[in-house]
Subunit: 108 residues, 4 copies
Amino acid sequence: MAINHSACIEACNRCAAYCDHCAVSCLEEGNREEMAECIRLDLQCAAICRLAAQYLAQDSRFAIQLCELCAEVCKACGEECGKHDHDHCRECADACMACVRECSAMVA
Amino acid sequence: MAINHSACIEACNRCAAYCDHCAVSCLEEGNREEMAECIRLDLQCAAICRLAAQYLAQDSRFAIQLCELCAEVCKACGEECGKHDHDHCRECADACMACVRECSAMVA
Amino acid sequence: MAINHSACIEACNRCAAYCDHCAVSCLEEGNREEMAECIRLDLQCAAICRLAAQYLAQDSRFAIQLCELCAEVCKACGEECGKHDHDHCRECADACMACVRECSAMVA
Amino acid sequence: MAINHSACIEACNRCAAYCDHCAVSCLEEGNREEMAECIRLDLQCAAICRLAAQYLAQDSRFAIQLCELCAEVCKACGEECGKHDHDHCRECADACMACVRECSAMVA
């Protein structure tokens, strides 16, 4: 995209999509009880990633601070997803960790 | 992305980013008075595109209906952006029309 | 609030809060398997209610069309919540049905 | 509402509605040039208030950190709105400052 910070915006949007997909996929799994924390974090992660993408695209003066918190939520979500063997969890963990890297690069 | 409807999700996210960027860029233009409608539609378009991306990634049973309305908002926004010569408006118009195509393909 | 359509905006926001609360509360219930559809609809309902509140507060020309779809999502969510005995489900069902009434009044 | 933190959730939702309304009302004002910063902050403030309401209603472990940043954005927005005489700016400034108080109380 011909927009500033497009790598971070794309990582945020990608992470949000994997989190949304992981959340509803977890609801279909047999070990639903173990998945509750994964679902909770997926939802929180998807939502803050979308806000980070908005703040970045709007060149908000608060974008860095939001990216800092976004990285923290993505890290928690990626670590939780990483505990589970489902494909959607592993793909989501990868997307979360890629988003941690991009958001951390914004902060640095 | 390894997610259903990823082409439409990506078009929605891309459109949202261009709309957010166009909205704040319009605020800096000299002919601000003429840009009011463009800003208004940019904001509405960015927001519904983000919701469409969420519904698609969550495999919502309402995704098609939301894509139908999203296509309508994107079309209005793209047509308004198309009236202006600013780079951000032209790029945004392109992203809107690409999103119209993807959302319309979902509905078809 | 000193804003047009404030009754509908407040019903949307209230519904979103009850849906968010119901979704995470359902994750803690023993009969988690039966709650999957309730959680899915809660998430979709919360999200479209927030967008409807935004469109109404921004006097969007698409507010009526969005309220129409929002009423449909709220109705589906309220009916699903109404099947369950948990307090959070019953309170959420009430908030959904109140939002259906306000959104339908916008459309009428 | 029969939900934890409902005073803060309601202050966030109220602030978001006044910010959305203020943003589009500013676009209609004669002194549009002076209103650009007000519009930018309105949009950022509305969006983070909505996310804070979601995190609170979902009992997110990150709710406090988000409220802390939300209070900062609301304060910036309220101070900017406070510089302008338009009714929508003054009402928005009040809603922002009420939200600062509620979010700060969450953090304390």
